[in-house]
Symmetry: C2
Subunit: 104 residues, 2 copies
DNA sequence: TTGACATATCGAAAAATCGTGATATTATGA
DNA sequence: TCATAATATCACGATTTTTCGATATGTCAA
């Protein structure tokens, strides 16, 4: 668990927003996976273009942000067809919360 | 409470260490305030030079770090004579912990 | 198999951050 | 009043981060 990398990832308003939006995906984003050939449980995952639309930055910037959030463990991703669905990694967030509450 | 500024402040190993060291000041630093003319309750505050010695960076760097940590509310400072004593601001840390646990 | 779409990666310019030494400020004791 | 010690601020080069447009890669449907 690299806390420095986590804090760097959280030091950006858009990335922080993405993490918060993904707490309630169905509330903050349109329905997902509608063009998927066979139905799959997306576990609340949201595709890059939906996140991009909401965040209002360029496609490459958002793709990069999602990569940063995933590499430090705050997000999980799963590819289905053309789409990559990102969702929160609650495990890491729990560990971070415990760290702040007890070690920091 | 500017969480972005707080996360920026925490995105640096030395600053993170300083915050952790100040959890147990008497364990991590030499006794403080020995040359003070009249005795004052320092509330666990540690002077800049003690922190600098432990961190092993330049005086200006540590002074700057402490300023960053204070401006975002993670540290409190109190000047006594020639010395500025820095200590944790547990209130902010508690608010941050709650934020991570419930809002993030 | 090809065209179009979704995403990832690359390369670059601008901005921010890092860390330092030099210098300024503040406070004290001789 | 002056020398000195502790801290703060300044100026700067080096590095990192930000954000983008262009391009590459992967996937599916016609």
């Amino acid at each position: 668990m690299d806390y420095i990398e986590i804090f760097k990832a959280l030091s950006n308003e858009t990335r922080l927003n993405i993490l918060c939006w993904l707490r309630e995906p169905e509330k903050n984003f349109p329905p997902q996976g509608e063009n998927l050939s066979n139905p799959i449980d997306l576990k609340g995952g949201i595709c890059v273009s939906s996140i991009q639309e909401k965040a209002g930055a360029s496609q490459s910037t958002i793709s990069n942000y999602l990569d940063i959030l995933q590499r430090c463990g705050l997000l999980l991703s799963e590819r289905h067809g053309k789409w990559t669905y990102y969702r929160r990694n609650e495990e890491t967030i729990k560990i971070l919360s415990d760290y702040i509450g007890t070690k920091l």
